[in-house]
């Protein structure tokens, strides 16, 4: 009888103290939006939800595409592509919203697909290219992966802060 995938994964997983000691790493919540693969620190993500009824806000910033209700809480919905100036995303039935946390402020962000949690070793993170676009200030770094598009790690707390600031300024 072949072992279940779960048991295989468990047996393959390294012991926590050894891993932590050998390779300092951090867990990121990775997702795809448009052509981009991105990741945010997992401690900034509360949960992933399906997009519910979206209520558009008049005279709001373009990246703030509306608000949605979740468990009695009203969450602003942010389109990262618009925020970063990389186009715009569409909210469909297969889209996912993840609830991002920054200090005591939370917002829902649109993703096309969620890749999951992924541990990234610190030495694998390359610094963001200098002289990049406007969103470069929110980038923690870039991870190059074989056979896959490179993963852009975002500083979600900072991003949400500046978003809130831009929304308020407006």
């Amino acid at each position: 009888m072949s072992p279940s995938p779960l048991k295989e994964a468990l047996s393959a997983a390294p012991d926590a103290p050894v891993a932590a000691g050998a390779r300092p790493e951090r867990e990121y919540f990775c997702f795809r939006i448009g052509e981009l693969s991105m990741g945010v620190p997992s401690e900034n993500v509360r949960e992933v939800i399906r997009p519910g009824p979206l209520t558009a806000l008049p005279r709001a910033a373009p990246f703030l595409i509306g608000v949605t209700g979740h468990r009695g809480e009203v969450l602003p919905v942010i389109d990262l592509l618009r925020f970063l100036g990389k186009g715009e995303s569409r909210v469909g039935p297969r889209s996912r919203l993840f609830v991002g946390l920054a200090e005591n402020f939370s917002a829902a962000l649109v993703t096309d697909a969620v890749a999951g949690l992924r541990k990234v070793a610190r030495q694998d993170i390359l610094p963001a290219p200098m002289g990049g676009d406007a969103g470069a200030e929110h980038v923690l770094g870039v991870v190059h992966r074989k056979g896959e598009p490179s993963l852009t790690l975002l500083n979600l707390a900072k991003l949400l802060g500046s978003a809130r600031q831009r929304a308020v300024v407006r």
Binding site: P5, L6, A9, L10, A13, A16, E27, F29, S42, E43, V45, R46, E47, V48, I49, R50, R96, V114, G116, L117
Partner: protein, 410 residues
């Protein structure tokens, strides 16, 4: 010598004898002797004689005178009779030499010759009548003979033409005999072919019946197939619904596993195992999603295939219905063909019999025509002979007419 006799022209009286009686007698005796020798002109001179002697001389002279006169009359009559006989002889010569009966007109007042000439005249008259009648009859005979010749010639020509026509007819009848034999043969062949066709058409009828049954079977099978396809389609739809439910569940499971991983991550080191389980659950959910996607693709393919199958079944149904109709039409047509072929077969048989009879009859006719031809040949021969005879008859009639023409009646 001097004689006392006188000639009539220069009557000389014999001088009376000088010596009496003797001399007187001598004169008379001389005169009578001369008369006896044919000279009746002598006379006795009686003036010188006396008595009785003178009387005798006178009487003798009277007798001589009378005899002379009688002789003259007789001569006269003899000449006139000779003339009449000459005339009659001329007529007879003309009759004999030239056949001329017209010149006979002799008459006489002679009581002795009259009956003879009258008898001749009657004979000639009778001959004239005969010649007239024969002439007339010869003319009639000639014209009749000509007519007979013409008729005979015409008959000969007709007979020859008839013989030619009969010969031609015989040849035609021969051809007809051959033709009717050919027809009989052909009719026999037609009858055989019709029989074969009848058999083939019966086989075709049976085959068409089987075909129609097969088509009905195919149609019912097609209906069953269409039902099965409809059921399959419903099942597939049901599977689709179930797959949607599974998809939904897997999606929710994926989401839950993701959130569970996040929870485990927030729990730090204590939630690590939990995070791993959650990740594994998420992978399973993703596998399920992949599978459901595959199933959905398969369902789409199955749906397309079933739609195509349904369309094909529908077309098959229509085709089988068309086939059944065609089979029914073909069956009807074959029934018609069967009836027609049956009639053809019967007709061919009848024709065969009729042509056989015709052939027999034609052969009889040919035999009869041969006999007729023979008879006609004989008739032609006889006709030729008749024509020859008629020609001869015509010639004879001409000859007779020519002969009769030599006798002139009028």
């Amino acid at each position: 010598m001097t004689m006392p006799i006188e000639s009539p022209n220069a009557p000389k009286r014999r001088p009376p004898p000088k010596n009496g009686k003797d001399f007187q007698m001598k004169v008379v005796i001389d005169a009578l002797s001369a008369a006896l020798q044919g000279d009746l002109s002598v006379r006795i001179r009686a003036d010188g004689l006396p008595g009785e002697a003178g009387e005798v001389a006178a009487l003798t002279n009277q007798v001589l005178e009378k005899l002379s006169r009688r002789l003259e009359d007789s001569e006269h009559r003899k000449q006139s009779i000779a003339q009449e006989i000459d005339h009659a002889l001329d007529g007879l010569i003309a009759l004999v030499r030239q056949g001329d009966l017209s010149r006979w007109n002799s008459t006489t007042e002679d009581p002795l010759l009259g009956p003879l000439l009258e008898g001749f005249g009657k004979v000639v008259e009778t001959l004239r009548t005969f010649v007239r009648e024969i002439n007339e009859a010869a003319l009639r005979l000639s014209s009749s003979a000509n007519e007979v010749l013409a008729a005979s010639t015409q008959h000969e020509t007709s007979s020859t033409e008839q013989a030619a026509a009969i010969h031609e007819t015989t040849a035609t009848m021969e051809e007809l005999k051959h033709a009717s034999a050919q027809i009989a043969e052909n009719a026999g062949a037609v009858a055989r072919v019709a029989e074969e066709t009848l058999g083939a058409a019966r086989a075709g009828r049976g085959a068409i019946g089987e075909f129609i049954q097969a088509m009905q079977q195919i149609r019912s099978d097609g209906v069953a197939v269409a039902d099965s396809i409809a059921k399959l389609s419903k099942r597939v739809e049901r599977i689709g619904t179930v797959v949607e439910v599974i998809d939904e569940i897997a999606d929710r499971s994926d989401l839950l596993a993701l959130n569970a991983a996040l929870e485990g991550s927030r729990a730090g080191e204590a939630g690590k195992g939990f995070s791993i389980v959650a990740a594994e659950m998420r992978r399973l959910a993703e596998n399920v999603l992949d599978s459901t996607k595959e199933i959905k693709n398969l369902i789409t393919e199955i749906r397309e295939a079933t739609a195509a199958a349904a369309g094909a079944a529908d077309a098959s149904k229509r085709a089988t219905e068309g086939g059944e109709k065609l089979g029914a039409v073909a069956a009807q047509a074959v029934e018609g063909i069967l009836a027609g072929v049956q009639e053809t077969s019967d007709a061919a048989r009848v024709i065969n019999l009729a042509t056989q009879q015709q052939r027999t009859a034609t052969e009889q006719v040919v035999a009869s025509m041969a006999e007729i031809e023979d008879v006609t040949r004989q008739t032609t021969q006889a006709s030729k002979q008749a024509t020859g005879a008629a020609a001869e008859l015509t010639q004879l009639a001409g000859r007779l007419a020519e002969l009769i023409k030599r006798f002139k009646a009028d």
